[in-house]
Amino acid sequence: MSDVLAVADHRRGDLRDVSYEIVTAGRELADETGGDLHLAVISGTVDDFADKLNRDGVDAIHTVDHGEEFNHDIYAQAVTQLYDELAPQYVLTPNSVNGLDYAPAVANELDLPVVTDTVDLEADGETLVATREMYGGKVETTTQLEGDAVVTIRGAEWPAAEGTGDAAIEAFDADIDEDTVGSTVTGFEEVGGGDVDISEAELLVSVGRGIEEEENLEMIRELADALDATLSSSRPIVDNGWLPKNRQVGQSGKVVTPDVYIAIGISGAVQHVAGMKGSDTIVAINTDPNAPIMDIADYAIVDDLFDVVPELIEEFQ
C-alpha cells in the first residue's frame, strides 16, 4: 500500500506543535506515494484532538480512547495494530522524547527499518530518501531505503498544516493488553523554577561550552552585572552543574524571546536554537565562523570570547 500513517503528540491536555507539522510532512509524503494520509490520535481527549487536527489534506483520523497521558506500551500496541489494519507504507511519528519512546519499539515489533530525526523526506515509488544530520549537525546526509518504514520527524522543520479538512473521524478499537504495560506515569514536574525567570528578561547574556572551565563563568557573571542583564546558558553548562536548570535555554529548558540575546561560546545546536530563535536581535560571539549559531545571528563577532568579553565589561562598568 501507499498510505501514510502519522501519529499525533500531546501532553497534559494539549496537542504539541509537531502534531500539526506532522500533518504537513505526512501529506507531502502521501502525495508522493499517491496514497492517503491517516492520522492516529491516542489517549487523552481524542475527539477534541481529532477535531483540531482535521486540517487540509487529512483523509482519515483514527482515535484510540485509552488513558489520559502518553504511555509507550499503549502507543506501541495501538500503532502496531493500526499498521496491521491499514497497511500503510510509512509510519510517521514525531522525533520527540515520547516519539523516541515508542517508534523504535513499533519498528522492531513490525520488523521494519527505522529512520529517526529526519528533516526532509522524499518518496518515489517504494524508495524513501530521508535527510538527517550527523555529527551534531556538522553534516547533512541522505539515507535511502526500500519498502515500508517507521520514520520520526524533527519538530519545526515542516510548517503547521492549516485550513479545515473533511477527514473521516473513526474510533479505532485497539486491543490493548494491560498485562504488558510495565510502566506507570506517577506525575509531572515543572523544573527550572526558582529565583529567576529567564523567559522574562529583555537582555540575556547566554554562555555555552566555549567558556571551557567553571571558573571562567565569573567573567560572564561580571558582564551580566555590568549590563544589568540576566544570565542564561546552553545545555552543557547545566549538565556540568555550573548553573542551575532554570538558566537553561533550549528544547528541554526554557524558550526565551528577549529584545537582545547575546550567545557567547554557544555553537547553536538545534535543541538550543529551538529555545531562542524568537529573540528580536541575536548576537553571536564565537571563534568558529561556520558554527550553526551564525545562521540565525543578526550580528556576529568572530573572535575569542576571552578577548571580547573583558572589553565589553570595561565599556559598561
Partner: protein, 263 residues
C-alpha cells in the same frame, strides 16, 4: 543486581573538514567514548558504589581499534567488558538500529542483567533508537531519555524521571528488567583515576564474534543506505563586526544602547 551498560566509540569531527563520498575524510576524524554513554557508565558505577549493583558489564560493538575507548568504561569502574566484532561487520557502511538490536539483544540474553543502561543517542549517527528497540526485542520494559534514577530499586521497580521538552519531567515507575536510555546531566561523570586506568588493563575484555553470540550474519544486513553527505548550506546573513576585540566590543555596546537594553 547486575547492570549492563552499552557503550560506543564515536567518531568526532574537527571544525574544518572535508567530505569524501559519503564519509568525512579520515584525517579530520577522531574517536571518543560517546558522551551519553559516559553518563550511563557513571550511573551504573554509582549504583555499584551504593551497594545496589553487584556487577557492571560494559558491552560494545566495534573493531579492535576501539578497545582503548572501551577500557575507559573499565577504568571508571565497570567490572568487565564484552566487545562484539566480526569480519562480516567490516564491510557494513551503516550498522542500523535493527542490526545493533540483534547483536546487543543476543549479548544481553546471555548476560541476563536486571538493568540495562544505554545512552540516549550516539554523538555521530544520532539515531536515538537502539535502547528502546533492544528492550522491545527482549521483552524488557524501558524508559527513554531518563535524567534521574532513584537508587532504590526495591521490589523490582525503577523510579525514574524522563526529561520531556520545555522543562517538564515525567515521573515514571518502570518494572525490571528494563532498558533505560540515559540523558546527559543525570550525574557528573568521573575522570578515570590513574589507579583505575592501571586496573582496567587487567580487567576481562571478552571478544566475541557473531557466531559466538549466536547471531546469523544475514540478520545484520542493513536496510538503510547512506547515499549522500554534505555540509549544510550556511543561511547566515549576520552582520559580522570586524576589527580588534576593543572595536567589536564597541560595536556591540553601541547596539545594546541603540536597542535601549543597556546603558
Amino acid at each position: 543486581m547486575k547492570i549492563l551498560v552499552t557503550v560506543k566509540e564515536v567518531a568526532t569531527v574537527e571544525d574544518e573538514f572535508e567530505i569524501e563520498g559519503t564519509e568525512i575524510a579520515e584525517q579530520y576524524l577522531g574517536a571518543d567514548l560517546n558522551e551519553w554513554d559516559d553518563y550511563a557508565i557513571e550511573e551504573a558505577v554509582q549504583l555499584q558504589e551504593d551497594g545496589i549493583a553487584d556487577e557492571v558489564v560494559a558491552v560494545t560493538i566495534g573493531p579492535e581499534d576501539c578497545e582503548q575507548t572501551i577500557r575507559q568504561a573499565l577504568a571508571k569502574g565497570a567490572d568487565r567488558a564484552v566487545r562484539v566484532w566480526d569480519d562480516a561487520l567490516e564491510d557494513v557502511d551503516l550498522l542500523d538500529v535493527n542490526a545493533k538490536t540483534e547483536i546487543l539483544s543476543a549479548v544481553i540474553e546471555a548476560e541476563e542483567p536486571d538493568l540495562v543502561l544505554s545512552g540516549v543517542q550516539a554523538g555521530d549517527d544520532s539515531f536515538g533508537a537502539t535502547g528502546v528497540s533492544v528492550a522491545e526485542q527482549l521483552g524488557f520494559q524501558w524508559g527513554a531519555v531518563v535524567n534521574h534514577l532513584e537508587h532504590d530499586l526495591e521490589d523490582g521497580v525503577a523510579s525514574v524521571r524522563r526529561e520531556l521538552e520545555g522543562g517538564v519531567e515525567e515521573l515514571t515507575d518502570i518494572e525490571l528488567p528494563a532498558v533505560l536510555t540515559i540523558q546527559t546531566g543525570i550525574n557528573e561523570p568521573r575522570y578515570a583515576s590513574l589507579r583505575g586506568i592501571r586496573q582496567a588493563q587487567r580487567k576481562e575484555l571478552d571478544v566475541q564474534t557473531l557466531d559466538d553470540i549466536g547471531v546469523d550474519e544475514s540478520t545484520i544486513e542493513t536496510e538503510l543506505e547512506l547515499t549522500d553527505m554534505y555540509e549544510p548550506e550556511s543561511e547566515s546573513d549576520a552582520t559580522v563586526w570586524e576589527g580588534s576585540a576593543d572595536e567589536t566590543a564597541g560595536e556591540l555596546g553601541e547596539l545594546l544602547r541603540d536597542k535601549g537594553v543597556a546603558q
